[in-house]
Symmetry: C2
Subunit: 353 residues, 2 copies
């Protein structure tokens, strides 16, 4: 079974909107606008505004209100998440709402396509990041010893999670011309945990009746993967990685294509999908109206595509590409002077043409 | 106290040579030649050839013979390590000898200066990597559950190790014009372990009688650090990081300056120092005589500098820079056609001029 959901039979589509902090509040409305612009391709749309984030924490004492989780689970078909700020020091009771949401909704695959804005021959890859375990299980403790404080964190890698993320990797690789899946790990040091990761991923074809026999498998140590990403990014097609390595390599790949401001992602599970721009809350530019809406708009398209609304997604993606390619209307992160609103309206205009 | 060792009063200098695998066997002899070329600046030299590595494992059943460790501890003042190959699958009994040596000799600081070959205004930074803990403690286990295999690794961060590596970071930053120390962590997820790392590093000035009050401190999440390394490397001066992040960011930085083949490092402790090129064993080019000897020769210079032999180190570094700058005699990794021997002999010739 492919992960992307079956052709849609829904009468309505309810989308949770969680802008969270900083520029999340500027780019999530832009993504909403883009979805509305393709509404003729979609069932009845309903949006529900939901709270989460650092600012929510400072006001209410929780970064992820139970209400938000409950409404997502009970009323929404999918969601868009903006970005969170985090405190610069440890604050008692605060914990990242995006990490919690991924686990809470079992959104086990973080899928991040990274494609050059102008010259797609340079970089055209997908990072498939395991999204629920590794060091992100956040099992940490601190003890006081005679020699001072000692802290320990657990890195959890399971066969089940590695195998299901591996399957997503194979599925995506199979659908691409080069059909190459590169497994990222550090098994020369972490022979047990990363050993289990690579072996579980490698075990997928055997579980799948030969369905992935045409996919080529390579491996790359994480340090060397970052080095080679910089030097010869064209050697990569689909990269599958445990959580933390996936976090780092997707930022590395993003740096190659000009700006984090254009890199979308979805957090996908078997029953729910949440779009999320890869960039952060960018407190330095928040509120100035100059944040790049492209990452969020593309995340909306990726989410719709995953739900089976392929022509809606195609329309959005084409309008985005036709806006970026001439390099005339660009936000400051891409070297231009356009505002969030100008770029969004231009994209909406192209969609409606 | 500065980490670099006091002005030398040794009558002799005994250097262990551990080429290990692959191109290690071609570049460590080059580094030896460079040291011999500055022998007039040094006490009586003695070299001891020592075994370690994958090939040693396949022949003897151990990747790090006890003899090697004992001779390093009892007879050597310092050492040069080449590079190790590792098996592509887990092999019972095999464990990385370089990781073991760092712990065995308590070489707690891995210092990796990364400077552009031609235009030093672009990249001129030092990665200071904690070298004994984090996930490199290799405490891993595997259990079989109803849902399949589960593996766990421990990530250890102690106040003592973070504080002593922090001190090295401050010491190096203080000696540089920009006096900037950037702490790399991921405390938005690992609030306890990375929280302890950053707080221990930040605590160093208070323990040092104001000695480091003129050092500026910044912080950067590891994913964002990799992104910014690609985009604006000139914002970094000295970067201090836990073990695994240090491994990754030093490869990222290396990618910016043209080739891993020019990046040296030392593994330094309070009583011993071991030079080590940052590159790997490069099985694809091993035995062809075209490996870049520069990383190893610079590692030798860095080691001598650390031991207090500043003019010997200066002579080697100048000869290396004067060889690279004209870009006439370069090994293939830098786009040239020169051999290991040609580059080494040219450097030795310049030293003797
Ligand atoms: C904000 C942070 C917890 C998050 C992560 O590390 O997953 C972010 O870096 C990302 O990539 O989505
Ligand atoms: C060979 C490997 C164990 C090692 C490490 O991860 O430390 C290498 O990548 C390095 O950077 O020295």
């Amino acid at each position: 079974r492919s992960m992307a959901m079956a052709a849609p039979s829904r009468k309505s589509l309810t989308i949770g909107l969680i802008p969270a902090d900083g520029i999340g509040r500027e780019v999530i409305p832009a993504a909403r606008d883009a979805i509305v612009a393709v509404k003729s391709e979609l069932p009845d749309l309903k949006f529900i505004d939901l709270l989460a984030g650092w600012e929510t924490f400072t006001r209410t004492g929780t970064a992820l209100p139970r209400d938000t989780v409950q409404i997502l689970k009970e009323e929404c078909d999918c969601a868009l998440f903006g970005s969170v700020s985090s405190p610069s020091r440890k604050v008692a009771g605060y914990s990242s709402p995006i990490v919690a949401l991924r686990k809470e909704l079992d959104l086990y695959a973080n899928i991040r396509p990274v494609v050059s804005v102008q010259d797609t021959s340079r970089v055209d890859l997908i990072v498939v990041r395991e999204n629920t375990e590794c060091l992100y299980v956040k099992e940490e403790n601190l003890i006081q010893t005679e020699k001072g404080k000692e802290a320990r964190a657990t890195r959890l890698i399971t066969e089940r999670a590695s195998s299901r993320i591996g399957r997503i990797g194979f599925e995506l690789a199979k659908a691409r011309p080069r059909k190459l899946l590169t497994i990222i790990h550090k098994s020369n040091v972490l022979s047990v945990t990363d050993g289990l990761f690579r072996e579980s991923v490698r075990g997928v074809p055997a579980l799948s009746d030969g369905k992935y026999d045409d996919v080529n498998i390579e491996e790359q140590l994480v340090d060397s993967a970052v080095y080679r990403l910089f030097r010869e990014p064209q050697i990569f097609d689909v990269m599958v990685a445990p959580n933390l390595y996936g976090d780092i390599i997707s930022d590395a790949a993003a740096a190659l294509v000009g700006s984090l401001g254009v890199i979308p992602s979805i957090n996908a599970g078997d029953n729910f999908v949440m779009g999320e721009p890869v960039h952060g809350s960018a407190p330095d530019i928040a509120g100035k109206g100059i944040a790049n809406p492209v990452a969020s708009i593309r995340s909306a398209a990726l989410m719709l595509r995953h739900l089976g609304y392929v022509s809606a997604a195609d329309k959005i993606d084409k309008a985005v590409n036709d806006t970026l390619a001439p390099a005339k209307l660009l936000t400051p992160d891409l070297g231009g002077t356009a505002s969030t609103t100008q770029v969004t309206e231009h994209i909406m205009g192209l969609i409606k043409e």
